[in-house]
């Protein structure tokens, strides 16, 4: 399932989720998600990064999650909604954010993104 689309998204795609694997349920929260399922489009490998900051941090969980995404070399984050600080952190790291979590599984969300990498926000 390789995908090289005109916007040049060769980078890894992360989906905030309740657990690992493509069958996991997506989590609409970014900062407090249990973790992130990361798909590498070059070889379709699937990895999981646990979100350590979700429980341990009072404030700044979103920022910590953004740091984790940067460390994991993620290019696009697919999540339900991102708070303003997390959004600023992701932008500073050059990571694209798409606020969508349409789908029962992480796999559904990734497929939805690849079909339409630049969705318009729902009215």
């Amino acid at each position: 399932m390789t995908n090289r689309n005109p916007t040049g998204q060769h980078k890894k795609v992360a989906v905030s989720a309740f657990g690992p694997g493509l069958e996991a349920r997506p989590d609409i929260r970014f900062g407090r998600a249990a973790g992130f399922v990361i798909v590498d489009p070059t070889d379709d490998t699937v990895a999981f990064v646990a979100n350590a900051g979700a429980e341990s941090l009072g404030q700044g969980a979103g920022i910590a999650a953004a740091e984790a995404m940067a460390r994991a070399d993620v290019g696009v984050v697919l999540t339900g909604s991102v708070g303003p600080k997390a959004a600023a952190a992701l932008a500073a790291a050059g990571i694209k954010v798409v606020e969508t979590c349409e789908g029962r599984t992480v796999g559904d969300v990734v497929r939805g993104y690849r079909a339409d990498p630049n969705p318009q926000a729902a009215p």
């Binding site: 609409i28 941090l57 009072g58 404030q59 339900g80």
Partner: protein
């Protein structure tokens, strides 16, 4: 879809907790949260049975190993919070002033200072007649950063989703700082309980500004409504200006004080239409709250 309603007051002592307890009864069954973790009073009215007690650890606190300390005083120079002092017996660490920043530990060459997890309080999973309850108690002097409140709200959301509850009802903290911000961000609907007094009006404006800043829909309950006509008019004017519905105006009724002393709720006070007013408020607010969307819990 789970709806969340948070009751705050700006000023303390306006009757926020009594109102929450009354709403909990009227709702039949819901997930109830006491987010006033500094002075948790809702349990006094709802008599929860505690099923589980959990430790709450927030931030860090510096710990000094006196044996390893050469008393060089480097840490003293770095601490900006006055937590480190030079006493007769050498270096002393005042943990009540320690901010947990870790700078002293970072610069301590002999490694005499380490950072430990700070026990800040406890939280509880409990049962009441009106539904499951999540509440907490901060230890004295601890930072009320909102982290514990965020934790309670996450637990409430998880519980509601897991067990199929449609409503989360929260008794919020007083003030307008971090704890209140943590209580209202992302909530579906805010009820501000206020009173027609100089202090009440002043603090209502602050609380209203906060809710508007976070774009939360607001409804007002005016308690002790007939105490002062001028200030009642000010409250009503503010509500008109900002488009807040006045859900109820409850008269200043001595029987309320009596009920409180006996540990009863407003629904037990039939005098001066108090019970009726609270019931009307609930029926008025429910459709607003159900229309409002609950967004991402922080």
């Amino acid at each position: 879809m789970v709806h969340e309603i948070t009751i705050i007051s700006g000023k303390g002592g306006t009757g926020k907790t009594s109102v929450t307890a009354a709403f909990a009864r009227l709702a039949g069954t819901s997930v109830i949260c006491d987010l006033d973790v500094d002075a948790s009073d809702l349990p006094l009215l709802l008599s929860p049975q505690i099923d589980e007690t959990m430790e709450f650890r927030a931030g860090k606190v510096a710990v000094l190993d006196k044996e390893a300390c050469p008393e060089c005083g480097v840490c003293l120079r770095y601490c900006r919070f006055g937590a480190i002092m030079d006493g007769e017996d050498g270096i002393i660490l005042d943990t009540t002033r320690c901010e947990g920043c870790g700078v002293c530990a970072y610069f301590c060459r002999p490694g005499a200072i380490s950072m430990a997890d700070r026990l800040s309080g406890h939280w509880f999973r409990s049962r009441t007649q009106a539904g499951p309850m999540l509440h907490a108690a901060l230890l004295p002097g601890e930072e009320n950063s909102g982290k514990l409140i965020a934790l309670l709200r996450r637990e409430a959301a998880a519980l509601a989703e897991r067990d199929g509850f449609k409503l989360i009802l929260s008794d919020g903290p007083p003030g307008i700082g971090c704890p209140v911000i943590s209580s209202i961000s992302g909530t579906g609907y805010v009820v501000i309980v206020t009173e027609p007094t100089a202090s009440g009006v002043h603090d209502l404006k602050q609380a209203a500004d906060l809710c508007d800043h976070f774009r939360r829909p607001v409804g007002i309950i005016l308690n002790k409504a007939d105490l002062d006509r001028d200030h009642a008019a000010k409250v009503e004017a503010l509500c008109r200006e900002r488009g807040y519905p006045v859900l109820a105006s409850i008269p200043f009724e001595p029987a309320v004080m009596q009920a409180l002393v006996r540990g009863r709720t407003l629904l037990d006070v039939s005098e001066a239409g108090v019970a009726a007013a609270i019931t009307d408020a609930w029926n008025t607010l429910l459709p607003y709250a159900e229309r409002a969307r609950r967004t991402d819990v922080p």
